[in-house]
């Protein structure tokens, strides 16, 4: 059994899916981020002034890019894998000799591909509004890939447990979006009262946004290596959990 061919087939199918419906997958983040930059960056940002020594516009760029990566890597896998279950063509994979880890890797890579592609689109738009010089591209790219992987895995687990289309929108709407906004996209946690700073440290997205911000503009509220350790730990944990769920056939086998 050639696992690489199976992996390439799943990833190719996933990439074709989101590029075929690009007006739904790639265009909306471009429009949304343009509005963010115009409203929060240009109109409000000029009145806010500098944060941690950089203009407000430059400060929010990394957070907005990573927020797009998070939401799109998650939503790609959750919607794709759930519709695969819903339409029952998951059975195509279950009857074939594809290993569980190949199925997982294929879907996660599809989600990462969409997350990063949206990240590139949003970055391109941000350069129309700012003239940022990237501080450390290696760190920025590494944390973006790890973040996309983590949320693609989270989307996969959501899809495994989902039994209706409502169930795939609950977590993005009620958990992911609030955590992203409270993860310091538009502000520095150092601006918060002490108690809220402490509470914010429980938000994993805060670490990833700060590490990415460090990679892009060289500014962070937390130690970036803690961010890498945290992202790596979550990726490992969610990978093991996803493989366990696939092995048991939770949500996909009768």
């Amino acid at each position: 059994m050639n696992n690489f061919i199976a992996f390439r087939t799943i990833v190719g199918k996933e990439i074709r899916r989101f590029t075929r419906i690009w007006p739904q997958t790639l265009l909306p983040p471009a429009i949304t981020t343009s509005l963010y930059f115009m409203i929060f960056g240009r109109l409000i940002g000029e009145r806010v002034g500098n944060i941690n020594g950089v203009s407000y516009m430059d400060y929010i760029v990394p957070g907005i890019i990573l927020m797009s990566v998070i939401s799109h890597s998650y939503s790609n896998v959750v919607s794709s894998f759930y519709s695969t279950k819903f339409q029952r063509h998951i059975e195509e994979l279950l009857v074939s000799p594809v290993s569980n880890w190949v199925i997982l890797l294929g879907y996660v890579c599809g989600g990462v591909a969409r997350g990063l592609l949206v990240g590139v689109v949003v970055s391109g738009i941000s350069f129309l509004f700012t003239d940022i010089t990237v501080n450390n591209a290696g760190i920025a790219v590494a944390i973006a890939i790890m973040t996309a992987t983590l949320f693609a895995l989270a989307g996969f687990i959501n899809a495994v447990f989902a039994d209706s289309f409502d169930a795939i929108s609950i977590i993005p709407n009620f958990i992911l979006t609030p955590l992203s906004y409270l993860g310091g996209v538009f502000y520095s946690v150092s601006m918060l009262p002490d108690v809220w700073q402490t509470i914010s440290l429980a938000n994993p997205i805060l670490y990833m946004i700060n590490a990415f911000r460090y990679g892009i503009i060289g500014v962070t509220d937390i130690d970036i290596w803690i961010a890498f350790a945290m992202a790596g730990g979550f990726v490992l944990f969610l990978t093991i959990l996803s493989l366990f769920l696939l092995h048991k056939g939770v949500g996909i086998k009768n």
């Binding site: 087939t9 199918k13 339409q87 063509h89 195509e92 009857v95 086998k253």
Partner: protein, 302 residues
């Protein structure tokens, strides 16, 4: 060699429903095998477990001597499944559905393209290769599923009610196609509710009822066990009283339609002779049910 060997297979669903109570089954390589049973008897569960869509509770399965649990990939590589319900991506083209399936089986792209073309031509779908699958007719969708199941040249093809809901013309052409595939050496397991389909295609048969195999034998051997044949007589004139003729059982459906049960092997000549004497003219005669259907009803009602 056994294409399928099942030992003491049991399945209890999480809601407590016992679908399989311990079935033993063997299907010879090259066989055209019918697995029959009423709705809810456990045949779809058995097919689901063989094709890895359902987790078993206990028991063992081997496919061409590969243990389905220990040599999972090798065992799965031997199987092609045509499920009961349409289960492909309705937004994908016909060609991509079949091509993707080849990819899942690890077939290199060049060979996969060649196999896809061959299977789609065999199913008369090559002209529709670039059509999005949701635009196909019901019969074409069924043929897409067969093409998809054949793309990796499986040694065992499992057809779970493949002709359900298709018109008689397509059904006949699918029968020919199934026979052709079997003649090429592929073992076929067929589940169907059309018993004449099983009777005319299959060489061996198992009947499953209430989670147990209640009969397993050769088709010809099984049909010798049929105890009586049933016919429907279309009468020229209405009758009010059910005729009484020794050795034949009658039932009046309406005043011009008469059911008659005849012990297998008993001549029909005395029947017509005595009906004529009673001034009952028969316009036509047809089988009420085929022989397998009669036997099936007897077995599942026991």
């Amino acid at each position: 060699m056994n294409a399928v060997l099942i030992k003491n297979l049991k399945k209890t669903y999480s809601n407590g429903f016992v679908a399989l109570k311990g079935i033993d089954l063997d299907v010879e390589q090259g066989d055209f095998f019918a697995l029959l049973g009423p709705n809810g008897a456990g045949k779809s569960t058995a097919i689901g477990i063989i094709s890895s869509l359902v987790n078993k509770t206990s028991g063992s399965i081997s496919i061409f001597e590969y243990d389905l649990k220990k040599q999972n990939a090798k065992a799965k590589s031997c199987i092609g499944l045509v499920p009961q319900e349409i289960n492909f991506n309705q937004f994908e083209t016909v060609k991509n559905i079949v091509l993707n399936q080849a990819g899942y089986y690890g077939i290199p792209r060049k060979k996969a393209l060649k196999n896809t073309e061959k299977c789609l031509k065999q199913m008369s779908l090559w002209d529709k290769r670039n059509t999005v699958s949701r635009r196909l007719s019901g019969g074409m969708k069924r043929r897409v599923m067969i093409a998809r199941a054949l793309v990796h040249s499986p040694r065992l093809l499992i057809l779970d009610e493949p002709t359900a809901g298709v018109d008689i013309e397509i059904r006949r052409s699918m029968w020919e196609m199934m026979e052709q595939i079997n003649n090429q050496g592929t073992t076929i397991i067929l589940t169907t509710h059309y018993l004449e389909e099983a009777e005319s295609l299959c060489r061996n048969i198992a009947i499953i009822n209430d989670g147990l195999i209640v009969e397993k034998s050769g088709m010809a051997e099984l049909l010798t066990k049929v105890k009586k044949d049933s016919f429907v007589l279309d009468l020229a004139k209405p009758i009010l009283v059910v005729p009484e003729i020794e050795g034949y059982e009658f039932e009046l459906v309406d005043n011009q339609l008469l059911n008659v049960s005849v012990p297998t092997g008993k001549s029909l000549n005395p029947l017509f002779q005595q009906l004529t004497e009673k001034n009952i003219e028969v316009l036509s005669l047809k089988n009420k049910s085929n022989r397998l259907e009669q036997l099936f009803m007897d077995l599942v009602n026991e």
